[in-house]
Each structure stands twice: as structure tokens, then as C-alpha cells.
């Protein structure tokens, strides 16, 4: 009896895991090959677009880590992106441009901010958590807006991109593209490893049933705090790259709308899959870019599209893919 039941129950697991391996491979391969395509089409502009896409994908990964694996719906993640960006901008204003300083400072700043705010935020649950993360995001936003020596609300120009040991490595678009891609890949693999690790298993368990994990002896709060700090640092890294990509830093990077967009990206792609976050960022930003070329009123198309995705499919784009694959394989099996 159990013999017969086993394989049937196991089937979705293997299919999922096959997609979980293949999809990111294809995604990253496509991203790695993109500069060849753009060079062939002499569409260097697309590199810039995809740099932006990948940077948001990094930030979206940090959001997926929290929402998708730790059930912490954060509505203030843009603040960490902003912190990373401001680290580059403010150091740049004092003519410190080297990544060996800027990156650690950015990661430390965003990590520290996450630690302090996380201590407070994680006391609350559910919607209250959403709102308290929003509150801290807004405080960061208003603080940045009042930083008169660093441009205040106007933001400040990053006069030169970050250097590495004094070498201006990021100045060439293709090099910068691959640096961002490498960062995305590194963050993706880090998240993947983290989630599979003992630590990640505790997070996932707490998402599933926090009370059970507590009575097993886990102090869930601490694990969540560590995750919150890690996610904050990842977002900070995205900020460092964003400041370099736009060569500009602005409080707008910290606005709550930005935090909202990051959540939407993750949900659009498919929550709790990691590559869904990457896919979501790509889809969101490309769709935005493409629709905007069609009509000035593109949001009248984009909005209903989001509604349709939610009402008719679950699990975002990844969900559509899985549903399609399921339908096809059922059809094949029957036919």
C-alpha cells in the first residue's frame, strides 16, 4: 500500500526541485549571455536597464528571504537600500570612493540599522510588523531628506563610481554589468545556502508553526533577528550598486512606495522560491519599461494586470509556470 502511495506523493517534489534547479540556471545563463546579445545588436543601453533590473533583483531577494522564508512581511526594505546608497554618496562627498571602505561601511550601517530596528519590530506580529517596519522606513526617509549637507531632499551626485584598490573598475559598462551579475549570483547562492542550512530550517519552521518551534526549544525571535540583519545587509549591498549605477543618491530611494514595489516584485515572481524574486524583478521592471513606451497611461494596463495575476493564478509567475507545466504533463499522460 505505502509502496503505491510513495511515488505519487513524491512526484510533485521531484518536479518542483527540477524546476528549482533548471529555472535559475537558465535565468543566470541568459543574464550572463546578455552582453553578447546587446553587443551584437549594438544596444548598449540594454545593459544599463538590466543592471538596474539586477540591482532590484538583489533587493527583492532580501525581501523574499524575509517574507517567503521567515514570514516577516517587511514594508521598509527600501530604507536599507537607501542606507547602502547613502554610504557611497556620503563617503564620495568626502572623496572616499574605494569599495574596500565603502562596502564594509554600507554593510555595517545597514546591518546595524536592521539590528536596532529589528529588536523593536520583531516584538510585533503580522500587520503590526508590516506597519512598524514602515514606520522605521519613513523615519529613515525623513532623516535623509533633512541631511542638508548631503543635498537634503535634492539628493547628491556621485561624482565618480566606486573604485577597487584605487582602480576605476566600474567605469566600463560591461565590467559593471558583470560585477552586478556576480553580486546577484552571490546573493542568490548565499540565500539558497542559508535557507537549506540548519539556521534556515529553523526560520522555515517558525514560518510554518512558530509556537511549535518555541516549544522545541528555539528562541525564534533571535533567529528572525539574525535573518532581518542579513536581509538588511543584502539590501544595503543593492544600495551600494544602485548609487553606482545611477551615479546619484536620493531620499526617494527610501520611499515607502519603493518598499511596496519590492514586495510586489517578489509576489509577482512567486513567493518563497528565490528565483521567483529575480524573475519578478525582471518582469516588473521590463513590463514597466515596455508599457511606458506604449502609452502615457500605462498604469491603467499594469494595474489590472496585477489584479488578474492575483485573482486567477496563485504563486505568481512561477505559479503560472507550474500550472502550465502541470496541465501539459497531464495532457501528455492522458494522450
Amino acid at each position: 500500500m505505502t509502496q503505491a502511495v510513495g511515488p505519487v506523493e513524491a512526484a510533485p517534489r521531484t518536479r518542483r526541485s527540477r524546476a528549482a534547479v533548471a529555472l535559475p540556471l537558465v535565468l543566470f545563463a541568459a543574464l550572463a549571455l546578455l552582453p553578447l546579445v546587446t553587443a551584437a545588436l549594438s544596444a548598449g543601453y540594454m545593459l544599463d536597464l538590466f543592471v538596474r533590473v539586477m540591482i532590484f533583483a538583489i533587493a527583492a531577494l532580501s525581501v523574499d528571504l524575509l517574507i517567503g522564508y521567515a514570514a516577516l512581511v517587511t514594508f521598509g526594505q527600501a530604507a536599507f537600500v537607501g542606507l547602502g546608497a547613502y554610504a557611497v554618496g556620503m563617503l564620495g562627498a568626502h572623496e572616499i570612493t574605494d569599495l574596500t571602505i565603502a562596502l564594509p561601511v554600507a554593510l555595517l550601517a545597514s546591518g546595524l540599522f536592521a539590528l536596532v530596528t529589528g529588536l523593536v519590530c520583531l516584538r510585533t506580529k503580522g500587520v503590526y510588523f508590516i506597519m512598524i517596519t514602515l514606520a522605521f522606513g519613513q523615519m529613515a526617509f525623513f532623516t535623509a531628506s533633512s541631511l542638508a549637507p548631503y543635498g537634503g531632499d535634492d539628493g547628491l551626485t556621485v561624482h565618480e563610481r566606486s573604485t577597487l584598490f584605487g582602480v576605476a573598475v566600474l567605469d566600463r559598462p560591461v565590467v559593471f554589468y558583470y560585477v552586478v551579475l556576480a553580486a546577484l549570483l552571490a546573493v542568490y547562492l548565499t540565500c539558497r545556502t542559508l535557507i537549506a542550512s540548519r539556521f534556515g530550517r529553523v526560520l522555515r519552521g517558525a514560518k510554518d508553526n512558530a509556537l511549535r518551534m518555541t516549544t522545541l526549544g528555539f528562541q525564534v525571535y533571535r533567529f528572525q533577528l539574525v535573518a532581518y540583519v542579513i536581509a538588511g545587509m543584502i539590501a544595503g549591498l543593492a544600495g551600494v550598486l544602485l548609487a553606482n549605477a545611477t551615479e546619484f543618491v536620493s531620499p526617494a530611494y527610501m520611499s515607502w512606495q519603493r518598499s511596496g514595489e519590492l514586495i510586489i516584485m517578489v509576489l509577482l515572481g512567486g513567493l518563497g522560491t528565490l528565483h521567483g524574486a529575480v524573475l519578478g524583478a525582471i518582469a516588473f521592471l521590463l513590463l514597466e519599461e515596455w508599457l511606458a513606451t506604449l502609452t502615457e497611461h500605462w498604469k491603467m494596463i499594469f494595474g489590472p494586470l496585477l489584479v488578474l495575476v492575483v485573482v486567477f493564478v496563485r504563486g505568481g509567475l512561477i505559479g503560472i509556470g507550474t500550472a502550465l507545466a502541470g496541465a501539459v504533463s497531464r495532457r501528455l499522460r492522458r494522450g
Binding site: 506523493e9 537549506a196 540548519r198 539556521f199 530550517r201 519552521g205 508553526n209 516549544t215 526549544g217 528562541q219
Partner: protein, 253 residues
């Protein structure tokens, strides 16, 4: 007599004006299976929650292996060897049965701040987990997501999760509730096998199970201990029979 694993001294819990447990004093000896019975609303589950730390106590003391744990948070108590199951089954539904137990192994091993390495592939975690599943008769269902298990299987899974933490005391909150006759019999068999390895406190309505398993029985009514004694004494106590057991109870031997 050996030092008791658990000793409750005058434990009390009040919700607003309602006193749910009051002056509860009892002790559980090592290896003993101590059953707490009582009608609905007698405060049994509250008592379990107080002992495991899910609810703070208003007054009284909880001594666990000689240490006062009254003010400790639940995860601290769990770490000291106090395991529990829940009245409403509480597993991790998205995890496979094996992974549920492996998490428990991990909790017991105490090194969960490991950020690398695939936890799902660690023999150190999976080995003991599989052995525990074996013991409760769930080895064949190891890969099934816990959410898909039958009610009785979830009960068994909870037991397995408690087992691997090598507890000094296991609190069982109505493990037979909602299980079928056949599954009840299986669970009784499993518990009987486990008896003696550690102390257990069993809160249960199913008198068949209670009298089949218990070394010692305490009767809780309106939050107070009415009587505490060996199964035979309890069964024959006129006060208990009158107040609680009535005539409906069939005894099996």
C-alpha cells in the same frame, strides 16, 4: 525515594475573574507515567501550558529536576528537557515527517546557528530522526509532508519529535483526542513501549488509555487536585466515582 522530575507547588492561574487552576501541588517521579484526568474545563490544558511556559503562572512554583523554572521562558524549559505535545496537533505542516523530527534533533543538538551546509542531508540529524520515526511506526511515511498525514499519524509524529529531544519529562496533552479506535490502540502500544525511558505527564479523556498506561493518577476538578493516587485507589475512591467518573466509565483491564 528519588528526587521527583517535576514538582508543582501551589500553582495558580487566573484569567480575569476566572480562577482556572488553583493550589495545584503534585510531583512526578523519574520514569513514572502520571495521568491527570478531569472533566472539561477543569484546567488540564492550562496546567500543561503553565508547566511548559506557554502561560505564565500567577503564583506557586514549578520545580524541574530540582531547579525552579517558574519564571523561565518556554524555549529555556524545552532546552532543559521538558518536551510537550499539543491538544490540537502541532507539527510543521510544510515539512516532511522526517524533517519535522530532524528539526527536533537539531533543537536538541543545540547548534542551529549554522549558516552553511544542507541541513536536509545531514546524517547526524536524519539518523536519529529516522530511528524515532521507526519507533512510533512512521518510518514509511518519512517523506510525506506532515500536513498530509492522518490525525493519528500526526500524533505519532509529535511523539517522535518529543522522543529525539531525549526529554526528562514529556507532557502529553490529550494525545488520543480525535483519533480512531485503531489508532488509539496503536498509540497506546507506542506509549507503553516508551514507558520508563523518561517521565510522562498525560492529560487524557480516554479512560481506557489512562488506566492502561498510568502509574499514578491525579484528578483535577475546578482547577484543584481532588485526589492523587495509584490507579486502583482512584478507581475505587467513592468521591471520584461520584464527582466525576459516575457509572458511565467502563474499565478494561
Amino acid at each position: 525515594m528519588a528526587e521527583p522530575v517535576l514538582a508543582l507547588e501551589g500553582l495558580r492561574k487566573q484569567f480575569g475573574g476566572l480562577v482556572v487552576t488553583d493550589q495545584v501541588t503534585l510531583s512526578v517521579a523519574p520514569g513514572e507515567l502520571h495521568a491527570v484526568i478531569g472533566p472539561n474545563g477543569a484546567g488540564k490544558t492550562t496546567l500543561i501550558n503553565q508547566i511548559s511556559g506557554v502561560l505564565p503562572s500567577d503564583s506557586g512554583r514549578i520545580l524541574f529536576a530540582g531547579h525552579d523554572i517558574t519564571r523561565l521562558p518556554p524555549h529555556e524549559r524545552a532546552r532543559r528537557g521538558l518536551a510537550r505535545t499539543f491538544q490540537i496537533t502541532s507539527v510543521l505542516p510544510a515539512f516532511s515527517a522526517l524533517e519535522n523530527v530532524a528539526v527536533a534533533v537539531q533543537a536538541h543538538a543545540g547548534s542551529s546557528y549554522r549558516f552553511v551546509g544542507d541541513a536536509a542531508a545531514e546524517p547526524a540529524l536524519n539518523g536519529p530522526a529516522l530511528a524515532a520515526l521507526e519507533e512510533v511506526g512512521l518510518a514509511e511515511r518519512a517523506d510525506v509532508p506532515a500536513g498530509h498525514l492522518s490525525h493519528g499519524e500526526k500524533r505519532a509524529l509529535e511523539l517522535a519529535m518529543a522522543l529525539v529531544t531525549e526529554p526528562k519529562l514529556l507532557l502529553l496533552d490529550e494525545p488520543m483526542a480525535g483519533t480512531g479506535r485503531e489508532e488509539t490502540a496503536r498509540l497506546i502500544a507506542v506509549l507503553r513501549r516508551l514507558k520508563g525511558r523518561f517521565a510522562m505527564m498525560l492529560v487524557e479523556h480516554d479512560m481506557t488509555a489512562v488506566f492502561a498506561l498510568a502509574d499514578h493518577i491525579s484528578v483535577l476538578i475546578y482547577g484543584r487536585i481532588l485526589l492523587s493516587g495509584k490507579p486502583d485507589e482512584v478507581r475505587e475512591d467513592p468521591q471520584v466515582v461520584a464527582a466525576y467518573l459516575g457509572d458511565e466509565i467502563e474499565f478494561e483491564r
